[in-house]
């Protein structure tokens, strides 16, 4: 890069490589372009899956069949789950913002293995195509639920094998992304950036990446075993052939519980970037947040049994898994306290990313505290497999991960595209999204407590009020989402030109042009201090003394 000092580099969006147009994008190994490739795919699939969710909510506004039959409904919630889980929330924050921001945040020019990174994206697309095919091929959409519980999934005549293969391939894509990030963080930090001078989003990604690498293979082999069961009639999980259906649940949740942390840890990381920037103040308790990410990842690996309290697992393993589940709640609580303390004493500027971040904390708290009901053995018995779980899960995944995704999108949008969106429309879209979201999912807590089971196409009349409110909420939510998408897409070309540092952030990505040049940094920066360093040297010295 010796010539980079003489003439400035073009932005990664305009850079003309070997190929033009779309080919230039899908052959590019630039981490920023790959991030956008993921982003576009995720947005498209998100709207598909959200549409499925909306139709399900409308169908359920009245008991009985309105415009879709039970088989279609069962297919819809399965596909909604598969797309949302495997194609949106698992790759979501890690693959989009991880790819975009990780090298920028640690002062690197790319990830460790750029070609492998592109390969991950191709795997992702392959898996996505398989998942889409599973819907459209003869045989019908898979109707097993995204959890693929045997023996039902071993016997269902729908395209279960396609969906299983899709999940397997998507899992592989996730593993390779994780592998890439671990090596990137280890090997490519800018000079002087010790582990504890690294920003907290990379910390979160690091913890996430280890789960991706160490948990995903287990579900991979489990899905292969179900495929073998269907194709070769090897009865690993079929009781008629000596197999054990509960063993499937163990293996499935050994991955799929940590998968929740694959989703939420990067979300926490994004939030941790946003609070200090908009408070103009160092993050409170840097070490505690960094270590709690690792603690969540490690302990979270061993709590899978809490999905199976009613499956007939042994009494002592219930006791044990419940205990660990409560332990893993503590680091999450620590993070919340640190976020709100970061705002305390700051100079807070209200902008859309901060609004989304604050909503994240609120919704994540509701999701987290309702998780305690499910972790406690006695209340779990009442609430397991009811819409309470559905609501809890969506508060964590949509209210948590989803709102963090929106926060991150609004935060890094100027850096990604070099334009500003409209703040006013961002607030309006937020209003619809926030109100719609709560109206959609909060009633489900209450009918869940009253005993409304999940995955029900039809229900008894006493639960109608909840489903009715949910249906209205779903409309409002989708309206908000469309407004948000419109705001971002419309201003991508027409918005005001974004300055290099619109939020006055201090982390490395704000020190370069918006959008960043192809090689990110003309000169790799040398890091001397804490990543969240807002004041002058004197101010900080004074603060330390007092």
């Amino acid at each position: 890069m010796s010539n980079s000092e003489t003439h400035p580099q073009v932005s990664y969006l305009e850079y003309q490589g070997k190929y033009k147009g779309i080919l230039g994008w899908i052959t590019s190994t630039d981490h920023k372009r790959i991030a956008l490739l993921y982003l576009y795919c995720i947005i498209i699939f998100f709207f598909v899956a959200a549409f499925l969710g909306l139709t399900m909510s409308i169908e359920k506004m009245r008991p009985g069949q309105d415009f879709m039959n039970a088989q279609t409904y069962n297919g819809f919630f399965t596909v909604h789950g598969i797309i949302m889980i495997f194609m949106i929330v698992i790759p979501g924050l890690a693959a989009v913002f991880g790819n975009f921001a990780l090298p920028l945040l640690i002062g690197a020019r790319d990830v460790a293995f750029p070609r492998l990174n592109l390969f991950s994206w191709y795997l992702y697309v392959t898996g996505a195509i398989l998942a889409v095919l599973s819907q459209l091929l003869k045989g019908g959409a898979p109707d097993t639920g995204w959890t693929f519980y045997v023996p039902y999934s071993a016997g269902s005549s729908t395209n279960v094998i396609w969906a299983l293969t899709a999940a397997f391939v998507l899992g592989f894509s996730s593993i390779l992304t994780g592998l890439n990030f671990i090596v990137t963080i280890h090997r490519m930090r800018a000079p002087g950036m010790t582990w504890f001078k690294m920003p907290l989003f990379p910390w979160a990604l690091y913890a996430t990446a280890w789960i991706q690498v160490l948990a995903t293979p287990i579900v991979g082999i489990t899905l292969l075993m179900v495929i073998a069961e269907r194709v070769l009639h090897i009865g690993f999980f079929d009781p008629a052939l000596g197999g054990d259906p509960v063993l499937f649940q163990h293996l499935f949740w050994i991955y799929s519980h940590p998968a929740v942390y694959i989703m939420i840890l990067p979300a926490m990381g994004v939030i941790t970037e946003i609070f200090p920037t908009f408070s103009q103040k160092p993050v409170f308790g840097y070490g505690a947040i960094a270590i709690s990410s690792l603690a969540i990842a490690f302990v979270g690996y061993f709590v899978w049994g809490h999905h199976m309290f009613t499956s007939g697992i042994s009494y002592w393993s219930k006791w044990f898994f419940s205990f660990l589940t409560f332990i893993v709640a503590v680091p999450s609580a620590i993070k919340v306290f640190n976020w709100i303390s970061t705002m305390y004493g700051g100079s807070i500027q209200m902008r859309p990313p901060l609004l989304y971040a604050i909503s994240f904390v609120f919704l994540f708290m509701i999701g987290g505290f309702t998780g305690l009901f499910l972790g406690a053995l006695a209340t779990n018995v009442q609430l397991h497999d009811t819409t309470f779980v559905v609501a809890h899960f969506h508060y964590i995944i949509f209210g948590g991960m989803g709102f963090a995704f929106f926060a991150g999108l609004h935060y890094w949008y100027p850096k990604m595209f070099g334009r500003m969106y409209s703040d006013r429309w961002a607030y309006i879209a937020w209003g619809f999204t926030f109100v719609g979201f709560n109206l959609l999912y909060f009633p489900q807590f209450i009918i869940g407590i009253q005993g409304m089971p999940r995955r029900y196409f039809d229900y008894l009349p006493q639960f109608q009020w909840g489903h009715f409110l949910s249906g209205i909420g779903a409309f409002i939510l989708v309206t908000g989402l469309i407004l948000m998408a419109w705001n971002l897409i419309y201003h991508k070309k027409r918005g005001a030109i974004a300055p290099a540092n619109p939020w006055k952030g201090v982390t490395l990505e704000w020190q370069i042009a918006s959008p960043p040049p192809v090689e990110n940094f003309d000169e790799i920066p040398v890091i001397k201090h804490n990543p969240y360093w807002f004041g002058t040297e004197e101010e900080i010295r004074r603060e330390k003394k007092s």
């Binding site: 039970a70 103040k281 419940s322 705002m343 305390y344 009901f373 406690a376």
Partner: protein, 307 residues
Amino acid sequence: MFEGASNLAAGVDRTFILILAIAVFFIVGITTFMIWTLFKYSRKKNIPARQFTGSVTLEIIWTVIPLILVMVIFFYGWKGYAPMRKVPADAMKVTAIGRMWQWSFDYGNGKLSKILVLPINKAVRMDLHSVDVNHGFFIPAFRVKEDVIPGYKNYLWFIPKYKGDYDIFCTSYCGLQHSGMNTKARVVENSVFVHWLDSLPVTGNIPDPEGLVLIKNSGCIACHSLDGAKLVGPSFQGVYGKKHIVVTDGKEVEKVVDDAYIATSIIDPGKDVVKGFNKGLMQSYRDKLTDAQIVQITDYLKTLSGK
């Protein structure tokens, strides 16, 4: 939560209220604090941000307090749950059978019902059995739920406290009509229950008597028919009490088939062989059947002779 109608509800509801109180306290507190900081430290006030980076004391406080709270919750959750796995010895037994997509309740002796009728204030143990895929047995009002998994022996128990009809749901997704897989639990006075059970027609299979199960499992019926047909060995039909000419040590003797004779024939089959059958074809069951099991077999053979 709405009123619980079983003995187990109190433990569940106590835990629920405890967590709810903690949750509301923190959610309201933290949200208020967040909104307050937004106004108090708004940039419009033009006060520079204070550049502090953390406090070890605070970190310790907000690690230890949540830790204590969650341990308390864990403890109550466990306390409320533990009794659910301790079935009283005198509990009435009902088997809940789940199949796609309906429940049936087996009261024993072939008495099957589509709804669950139970006497009030009497402990009932439900053994859960699935004939196809996973189901979940859930009675919200009683605060009981266990999965019904093929090949597994899962169970639950409770004491219904109030008369009335309660919903039963299937909570584990089981295919097309999963949402239609519900029925009622009806709690009635004991006398009503007894009457109902008596009038319940026998529609299910009556399980094999223990002796017959042993006979089948030991492979006896390969050579001894139950219907009088002559196979390798004498038929079991009417065999008890019958007079046989048997060959003992080469001599023909007449013997009545009684308890002792049957026991001898099982343990030492070559000793008294019925005339017309060959010696040495039957193996000894000396170590394979216990004395108690031989008595059960004998009892069953008696029923085949009408005795």
